[in-house]
Symmetry: C2
Subunit: 357 residues, 2 copies
């Protein structure tokens, strides 16, 4: 098993990226192909005892920076780690690719150079999200700025497969993110997507979920369009950051409070631990012919190590094949079940739906 | 000045609602018309010394429950507090209406019985949101499930007027919520709305804002469609609730941590105080011929009192008139400035835009 890793991606490259790769190679026994400038990688590797570990260096002399425009960057930098890593997956030289770099560039190169699973119209970015009862997954969180109901149906199928085979959830409960729990609530897009999801054979679809209810653990898979999903995860991250900043500020005022915070620090550390997302392994771009894992730009060694763990699981569980089967199986089943009326399932495909009212 | 109040709305009715009304009448010297069952209200009022306070009782024998379907409920319960309170505003018997009840019913009766300001296509629900540097306002947070770019342009105008006259912000910085900061980021709806907002005379429009940046205080007014705005505020609320639950759990483990939390309690209380939204006065339905203030269903006396304060400010600042002027002024100005090309400003009005890609 060979997992390609973008050594120069993210805020803490290359130190933390290489550190995570060394850990992952040791702990999981996988080959991690380090894609980046050979001299830089060699210098980093020299700091570790890597005897017996499989950490080949794959030269990539260009770097796509975090702020670059994805499509242009991918076009102009064919020798970047992101492009070379993806092409390794396409050619079967690696079975997955991990990057903490420019998300947009990873999506672009994924679609362009890895390619979509046949039948998947739009790949989706799926991410684990902590709830009071454990993890759920939410998709799409930003692969698509514009989404159609039939894309969201496929997100539901892919999310369900992911929850089952990567998180180990039996018969995952799938819900669609809306502005109210009741059936019929939502924008036109959501109402149409709801209909399609409800009619998808083999999917344990349980209706709408409000964002405030996601945190209670009511769903294993939350389906949403890429725009709303992106707002959702960035809102959650922003609020968590703000609360922690307010806590730090208020707990430092006055000696008694400071002493209290000192005594409570093991508890506060546990709180931070439960909020720490580095153990989750980051977001996965689903619907491609090989998984691309996109971890947070601020990823440190631990996050990189866990991203490689997710990549390993995705390969072992043959996630790509299962997505392929899931999408075509569900389609075949729909047609068999609904006969000629199967077309009715996707009324919006014939005519573009409106976002107007 | 007469402000109508729905006595039976919300989880803590009628006790906390009447308590808030008594406080508001005393502190702000306004008339608060208590709309609800006279015997219930009289029994509550009997607990306070209300000599000299103006707290007339307006009979309303029906109650719209929190879970009822808005349109049906408003139609079937013409004798409910929500309907009677709104009609008072329409007839000029009250200048604003406050409720902690069914938000959907308040919106429905607002549009149906209070009526829209001429020129306003879609009213919007605006709510204050705490940032690290004070408050911003965000709209629409749920009055509309489906939104068009030209609605969002009006949201920008109304939000700017609100920030200026209710929050006292000079030349409010207006941004549109998107999935990236850069111009050109966003769904088709957002990109079209961006264009319109950028061309609106008199508006201090500063481009996109990501949800994670909203909390840093980079904008005074955040414009969004009603679906995304609803997801935004409910996500923020859900995350804040979850973090507080995790804190409580972790700080109770073990005697040292518990002691620490005890010593730190004044700091933790300040944290809760900064998160407490009861002082903000709730959401306001803008674009109607009189303001309707919709506070959280869990509102207690303090939240009701502040909602009445916001109603008083809205009346004193003649918010309705300013919205009217803002919308028609901006339109007149656009036509004067852009001449015949003014039509170019709203290309999407001619042809329904798509949410498809």
């Amino acid at each position: 098993m060979n997992i390609a890793l973008d050594v120069m991606g993210g805020d803490n490259a290359p130190q933390e990226i290489v550190a995570g790769a060394v850990d992952a190679a040791r702990i999981y026994g996988v080959t991690v192909s380090l894609v980046g400038p050979p001299d830089v990688i060699a210098a980093e590797l020299a700091q570790y005892s890597t005897a017996g570990l499989r950490l080949p260096i794959i030269p990539a002399k260009q770097i796509i920076e975090m702020g670059e425009k994805p499509v242009q960057a991918v076009r102009n930098k064919p020798e970047s780690g992101i492009v070379i890593g993806s092409k390794m997956v396409r050619r079967g030289e690696a079975q997955a690719f991990v990057t903490a770099g420019n998300t947009g560039a990873a999506l672009t190169t994924g679609i362009l150079h890895v390619g979509r699973v046949s039948g998947i119209v739009r790949p989706a970015l799926i991410t684990p999200f902590p709830t009071q009862k454990g993890l759920c997954v939410i998709l799409d969180v930003g692969a698509n700025a514009n989404t159609r109901p039939e894309n969201m149906q496929q997100f539901g199928i892919m999310g369900s497969i992911y929850a089952q085979h990567i998180l180990g959830v039996d018969n995952p409960r799938v819900r669609v993110l809306s502005n109210g729990e009741e059936t019929g609530k939502g924008s036109r897009l959501i109402i149409d997507a709801y209909q399609l999801l409800a009619q998808t054979p083999g999917l344990n679809f349980q209706g709408n979920v409000e964002s405030i209810e996601v945190m209670t653990g009511i769903a294993d898979v939350v389906v949403t369009d890429g725009f709303t999903g992106n707002v959702f995860i960035k809102t959650a991250e922003g609020v968590a950051q703000m609360l922690q900043a307010i806590m730090r500020e208020e707990l430092k005022r006055g000696p008694v409070t400071t002493m209290g915070a000192f005594l409570a620090q093991s508890g506060l550390r546990r709180v931070r631990g439960r909020l720490d997302d580095s153990q989750y392994g980051g977001a996965v771009l689903l619907g491609l012919r090989g998984p691309i894992i996109v971890t947070h730009g601020r990823s440190k060694a631990n996050a990189i190590r866990h991203a490689i763990r997710i990549a390993k699981q995705a390969i072992e569980q043959d996630l790509t094949q299962r997505v392929q089967e899931g999408v075509s199986g569900s389609m075949a089943l729909s047609i068999a079940e609904f006969g000629k009326d199967a077309q009715l399932m996707t009324p919006v495909q014939k005519e573009p739906a409106l976002y107007s009212v």
